[in-house]
Symmetry: C2
Subunit: 350 residues, 2 copies
């Protein structure tokens, strides 16, 4: 985002007559606004939000699954077309997606907000609404948090904790040559949605909704873990191509991804093709899909089919793991198939 854009956003975000901004509030008032929205703490939360630290009882016979992820204004979202409610939803969803990839059941989160003093209180409340609605849907409790003023961008950093039985853990590193690769749902929608928002502010289009309100695949991840249907699993936060690279590298395998099999969201394909872009390349390199990539042993296919029936989530076979360490995209007409290196994902610092 260039500085001129950001200036425009600041103005757009200025409060209307009578509206107040965070700088008008004490930290204590803002914490009270969060506390008011929380449901009563569960029995296992011995000390909740408001003390120096939270104290929680671990769940019996289960392991803790922990992850942290930050959304940074100007890097991961743009306030010009990301409503506060969606910022809150996305900030938690990207974390829940990590729990989904491990097969974990969400339990609690800690919220760390770094917020500009000029942010309207109404936007802060809308952000909380989006975040806490998703938390409630997955029976996840807020155990604690931190508020700090930002002299620059808005940063929402969330730590999540879930639980899992030891034998159900799904990591990135368990795939073998010969395992088939499956992806949940469809890809490319969020990347197209982000372009639609940027170019046309088309916040109502299905692709834009997929970008603004990703649905982490928690139920499928948990069913896959319980049924031990996958040898490896990773989420698609930085795009399918990046996920395939990470899974292959962690597992010490290569991969062939079949261009013809990619479950590209049709309206995203149309959007990319109307702009003369290679829809497959855009869909595999586009981030923010928050689907899951699974590696499945050939003998595990039946178990996977059972999982798919129960989860109500589409799973598409997109390729296979290989002993050769190359990671390639196979495309072209049937008698002229050719392999090209699968491009890398999104590199935050490049």
């Amino acid at each position: 985002m260039n500085p001129a854009d950001r200036g425009a956003i600041r103005e757009a975000a200025a409060p209307g007559p009578g509206g107040s901004v965070l700088a008008d509030c004490s930290e204590r008032d803002l914490i009270a606004r969060i506390q008011r929205r929380l449901p009563p703490p569960p029995d296992w939360m011995t000390v909740g939000i408001g003390d120096d630290a939270a104290v929680v009882e671990p769940e019996r016979n289960r392991l803790d699954v922990l992850s942290v992820d930050a959304l940074v204004e100007g890097v991961h979202f743009d306030r010009a077309f990301t409503p506060p409610h969606a910022i809150g939803h996305r900030a938690l969803a990207v974390n829940l997606s990590d729990l989904a990839a491990m097969g974990a059941t969400p339990r609690l989160c800690l919220l760390s907000f770094v917020l500009p003093g000029g942010w309207p209180v109404a936007d802060f409340e809308a952000m909380l609404d989006g975040l806490l609605a998703l938390a409630a849907r997955h029976r996840m409790h807020v155990a604690g948090g931190n508020l700090a003023r930002s002299p620059g961008p808005l940063v929402i950093d969330i730590t999540v904790s879930g639980t899992i039985k030891r034998r159900q853990i799904a990591t990135r590193s368990g795939a073998f040559p010969g395992d088939e690769l499956f992806v949940t749902g469809s890809i490319g929608a969020a990347a197209a949605g982000l372009e639609m928002l940027r170019e046309e502010n088309a916040s109502g289009s299905p692709c834009a909704v997929r970008y603004l309100y990703p649905e982490p695949r928690l139920r499928l991840g948990q069913l896959v873990a319980r049924n031990r249907a996958a040898s490896a699993c990773v989420d698609l936060s930085d795009g399918l191509a990046d996920a395939v690279h990470r899974l292959a590298e962690a597992s010490g395998v290569g991969a062939i991804v079949d261009d013809d099999e990619l479950p590209i969201e049709p309206s995203a394909r149309d959007w990319f093709e109307q702009r003369g872009a290679n829809a497959s390349l855009r869909a595999v390199t586009g981030g923010d899909d928050y689907e899951l990539l699974l590696a499945v042993r050939p003998r595990g296919r039946r178990r996977l089919a059972q999982v798919t029936r129960h989860a109500g989530t589409r799973l598409t076979r997109i390729g296979v793991c290989t002993a050769d360490r190359a990671v390639v995209l196979r495309s072209g007409p049937q008698n002229q198939r050719r392999d090209e290196p699968l491009p890398g994902g999104y590199g935050h610092f490049r």
Copy 2:
């Protein structure tokens, strides 16, 4: 920090000949730089850094203690006089101080870094050194993390997890009227040190060192918890006055703090008085001391004395909790004592 200052810092932070900045690195390279520095993971860490989430075994018969805290450039530190090594140390220390206040034993942390692309890699490494040296000293393991690019300030957000036995938890809310108030170590040093750094860049002075390298009172907090020597405990992150207000409010009591008894660091007192300031007021409102404030039942004094002997930490009685809800600072010559409201602490958004 005003924008002109920040520009100057950017220039000062530009790498020398042959030096590289974070923008020259891939995210994967930066993660590898963190991983290289970590000791082997302990047995209880089933999945460590590098997967979608960490998986850890809870400690038997203990509860988890969780806290999150962020250090934001331009709000909590200034790169002009805070060396990267100290930034890393402080970012973890402020979190460990929260664990100390609960009486917990540190176990693991998750690191979330939001970093400007122009930050020199050498500074990133020095920041890690400071952070990981403190983690190692307290046998704390890094379970995971997240890296994001910042279009503005540097943000270091850390989530810590420790453990404690249920009957040992020390919260803010257990104080009764008649309980005596004690504070560890001395106060005012960090606030004076920050001024010395700002005005004279006196990074070698003892007060500046106290600001740059706070030592969380973990051992004392754990001993107090084990001996159940305190009825309530809170850390001094935002100053003694703020801590007294928080403890009093959470416990539903008032407090009288005795000005004559405040353990103000002598060199800090000299610094404030040379500038014509009221040293007591500056010391009680100054933040960043990371000492502990304890409320102790009159019959608990002997147990507290035992703890003090073992911890090797000075404890000073500074006042008493009262049934009257007012929180006051009592000062003046013996026959003309007068009470004034104890000022509030540091309000992040005011």
